[in-house]
């Protein structure tokens, strides 16, 4: 029996150091090199990379439609940890399901162990209790990568 999962976890071993990877997330020019799928045109509206700072990116679909994602940074600890809230924005500006993404960049002999966790964003009231949840989430979630 697997538990009912509400958290996404992806782990990758990458042959690049944490400093290189971290920069790819927080520098606009670097982010634009990989953020959008092929055929999409990405732009960075704002990356205010500090706790409480906003971020927003826009992608133009091949058919011309715009898709935006945005949120607020919560943890900024280069080059080890980065977390931010994350939601798709609808055409009418309404935000979709609000989640939080936590990235950890752990230096390994060959490069970096990158772990991405995405789960429902907890409101302030439940946040303290939930910091414990991150660590338990590490143990119960399916692994995707190698």
């Amino acid at each position: 029996m697997s538990d009912t999962e509400t958290t996404l976890r992806i782990e990758r071993l990458i042959a690049s150091p944490p400093e290189v990877l971290f920069a790819l997330w927080i520098e606009p020019a670097q982010l634009l090199k990989w953020w959008a799928p092929d055929g999409y045109e990405a732009s960075v509206d704002v990356l205010d990379v500090r706790p409480g700072g906003r971020w927003r990116t826009t992608m133009r679909r091949p058919d011309g439609g715009l898709v935006a994602t945005s949120g607020v940074y919560r943890i900024v600890e280069p080059p080890r940890r980065l977390s931010f809230t994350w939601a798709w924005e609808g055409e009418n500006g309404a935000r979709g399901h609000e989640t939080e993404v936590l990235l950890t960049f752990e230096a390994t002999p060959g490069g970096t162990r990158l772990v991405l966790l995405q789960e429902r964003f907890e409101s302030k009231e439940t946040c303290d209790r939930h910091t414990v949840g991150w660590s338990s989430a590490f143990h119960r979630i399916e692994k995707i990568a190698f």
Binding site: D3, I10, A15, V20, H97, L116
Partner: protein
């Protein structure tokens, strides 16, 4: 890529944010229909507390109740978890592809290490 967000997604995730409620769902999925007493017997918390958890799960559309004489039974609604599973699958696809692209960019910026 994003599709319209089902309106119930937030209440679904909220309902399942609690470990006890997740455990209740897991148990119901394993056992099918259970009486409220049978659900409560598995957990070291009071029946009123279990009842409150069940109310949250019902409001989120995760479970349905049936009353037979003096007993109340609960079970997981068919396809109740589908919106959440779809969302997780979409996000997994999104990030897997994005991390592939990120890894390729990183490789181009990382000096190749000589293997001895």
């Amino acid at each position: 890529m994003p599709a319209a967000q089902p309106p119930q997604l937030d209440s679904l995730f909220a309902a399942l944010a609690d470990p006890t409620r997740r455990a209740i769902i897991d148990r119901l999925l394993a056992r099918g229909e259970l009486s409220v007493g049978e659900v409560a017997a598995r957990f070291s918390i009071s029946t009123p507390a279990i009842t409150r958890h069940l109310q949250v799960l019902e409001a989120a559309g995760l479970i349905e109740r049936r009353i037979e004489r003096q007993w109340r039974f609960v079970r997981v609604r068919a396809n109740a978890l589908a919106p959440m599973e779809n969302w997780l699958a979409r996000q997994r696809q999104h990030w897997s592809a994005a991390l592939d692209r990120m890894e390729a960019v990183a490789a181009a910026q990382t000096p190749r290490q000589r293997k001895s």
